[in-house]
Amino acid sequence: MASVPHDHGHDHSHDDHHPTGLMRYFTTTNHKDIGSMYMWFSFVMFISGGIMALLIRSELFQPGLQILEPERFNQLTTLHGIVMIFGAIMPAFVGFANWMLPLQLGAPDMAFARMNNWSFWLLPPAAILLIGSFFVPGGAAAGGWTLYPPLSIQAGMGMDMMIFAIHIMGASSIMGSINIITTILNMRAPGMTMMKMPMFAWTWLITAFLLIATMPVLAGAVTMLLTDRHFGTTFFNAAGGGDPVMFQHIFWFFGHPEVYIIALPAFGVVSQIIPTFSRKPLFGYVSMVYATASIAILSFIVWAHHMYTTGLPVAGQLYFMYATMLIAVPTAAKIFNWLATMWRGSITLETPMLFCLGFLFLFTMGGFTGLVLSLTPVDIQLHDTYYVVAHFHYVMVAGALFSAFAAVYYWGPKWTGWMYEEKHGKIHFWWSLIAFNITFFPQHFLGLAGMPRRIPDYNMQFTEWNQVSSIGAFAFGIAQLYFIWIVIRMIRGKSGIRAAAKPWDGAEGLEWTVPSPAPYHTFETPPIVK
């Protein structure tokens, strides 16, 4: 692939002219600046949500009430969920998309560079509303991240702040997604056909579609909550002919695709990294594209598997059970394709690859517990127990978060111009892997034994595994401070190893044809893809 990474010729005298200091970041229209801001924001939110998680785990270290009021405990579980999903995981992957999509597609920037800036800068106001809600009378929203009425209708003004934060984050997601879709559809370099695109671009294309289709539905749902709370409507109030369960239907019509909004870009990252370190092209590229699309389509017709205990008719339960199990088919196609990619490859185990292997093992486990939970009769037993908590942390943390770590180690040299220190990366991986399993594996046992989620107190019999889990959680938290230390050392070049334009010998793609660190402007003249 020939390319002209950065032509300093003719009329490009404007190059790095941009305001300096804070104003540079307030006003920037550069996809790299914006991508970096997304990632830093994501990390700050990750730490905030992590502190909430550790407060929860501290309270759960022993039965009885020790350090938190039950109300505060509920606020923490609620905000932990929202902050981690909307504040940490999603912005991290949007950050990767911002940095990497123009580089991977050979575009000079995102299609709408100014709107891109707004997509990012809407997030801090939302974060202020979310975190600030802890300090208003009545405290933060406390009905769980799913915001079910009637609890969410009875809550104090913290819930209003939550609702407006969701509106703002939704606007940010929709603008970001429109930007990503348009960039992918309209700004590919000449010769870069759709079926030549890197998998990361494909997964983001489909993710952006999911976001545009579902975020407005969530906005509608929380708007109904708001009018039920303040303007006397009765959408979710049986006395007025409404139904609280209706909220659950609307919410999960958003909520289930949201699971794949988080998972698909992670799949994309893994599909980039495994071929690189196996030194083989991705096995079954075309089937990967179709599997991704199938998962996205199926995600719209399975939502009520979150609602087996709400009194669905049996026919409905059966339909949602079978439809849900169907998702295992394209997901398995992906897992097997990754395995087949590694088959007889010249595998080396650098940190990004390690995180992808961790992802493969643990995400698959999370997938299997998902399959267990898709079974209606089983779910009726396990609903709202710690088994569910264990399940979705296997897919969210070991799935999405591990692949985000992999992405930082994989593309970090391209962003910073320096290699990270391999030894530290490996320690971070093994530390995270072990601490993660200490934290969440016992939660399967707790759930199977009947420990309910979202309750600050528990029966004595659950003590031991809760203590194990809490210890694991603190170990996992410290590992992530270690991670940011590694990243800062990478930025400062402490490894002393400059990153080559292509630091991974098995890597493919346009992003490796530009120097490391990538210059402020890249591909101002589109490269030709053969």
């Binding site: 229209t29 106001p125 209003d160 429109i178 309209n186 409507t233």
Partner: protein, 286 residues
């Protein structure tokens, strides 16, 4: 450091750093706090709301003004035009999904929750609830008369459909380069939109004053006012978009090849038209 360097053939226009996004974020932050404060009856609510709106309007004028200036300087090539088209299509799709949530709520309430509240399962709680639509629900005792479909709503349907035709005539006039005709038919479209909104306001007053149909009239009032209200809000946005386009037409902007803003506003207008047809059938007629 001219931005035009980007719009040379084969290049894509990437705008210079801009303050408008951060201004917009500030506006939304203040607006959100203002709305929270107002709804919880705090003294600073209304002032914050007002300040938020003021900043938002400044931002909208500034940002759209900048875009119009760039467009008139012909910085947007063919590729940018195509990007705009993609983005407007996806934006309208997101709006469709927003309305889908409220249509879905209406469908769910009518097909499921109201019949369920009238079923044998709920007889002990609400023995006298028959479940006939329209309803306030079992526990709100404030009878209302539903809005008939064949008065103002039918007239409004005719108005919006006609406005679709006038807009298309304006579009053809633009393609043919007949500016006078374009301006007249576009103005007619805006006028029809304004009459529609006037009728909606009248209908709301009629509902509150004569029919006892209110936002608080149970699930019927909730879905009726939220659906028609959000639709009316979108018509208002459409009228504003068309008005901006009209002013630009009068200033000599646009030609047969360069008129994305006109088409975007037209697409949006047809979208609110289609939503209205859905509303007319499922809210008023059925």
């Amino acid at each position: 450091m001219s931005a035009s360097s980007h719009s040379a053939p084969g290049h894509y226009f990437v705008p210079q750093p801009s303050i408008w996004p951060i201004v917009g974020s500030t506006a939304l932050l203040i607006l959100a706090f203002g709305a929270v404060g107002t709804m919880n009856k705090l003294s600073w609510g209304w002032p914050a709301l007002a300040v938020g709106f003021a900043i938002l309007f400044v931002m909208l004028f500034g940002w759209f003004g900048a875009v119009i200036k760039e467009s008139e300087a012909r910085l947007y090539g063919k590729n940018v035009d195509l990007s705009f088209r993609w983005s407007m299509s996806w934006f309208i799709f997101s709006e469709v999904m927003f309305f889908a949530a409220f249509f879905g709520a209406l469908g769910f309430a009518r097909m499921h929750s109201v019949p369920d509240l009238a079923s044998i399962d709920s007889k002990l709680l609400w023995p006298n609830f028959g479940g006939a639509w329209p309803t306030t629900g079992p526990f709100i005792d404030s009878p209302f008369t539903p809005m008939g479909a064949w008065g103002i709503p039918a007239l409004n349907t005719a108005l919006l459909l006609t406005s679709g035709i006038t807009l298309t005539i304006a579009h053809h006039a633009m393609l043919a380069g007949q500016r006078q005709k374009l301006i007249i038919w576009l103005a007619a479209t805006i006028l029809l939109g304004c009459v529609f909104l006037g009728f909606q306001v009248y209908e709301y007053i009629h509902a509150y004053r004569d029919l006892n149909l209110k936002l608080t009239s149970g699930i019927f009032g909730s879905t009726f006012f939220m659906l028609t209200g959000f639709h009316g809000f979108h018509v208002t946005i459409g009228v504003i978009m068309l008005t901006v386009v009209l002013v630009r037409c009068m200033r000599g902007h646009f030609d047969a090849k360069h008129h994305f803003a006109f088409e975007a506003a037209a697409w949006y207008w047809h979208f609110v038209d289609v939503v209205w047809l859905g509303l007319f059938v499922v809210v008023y007629m059925l």
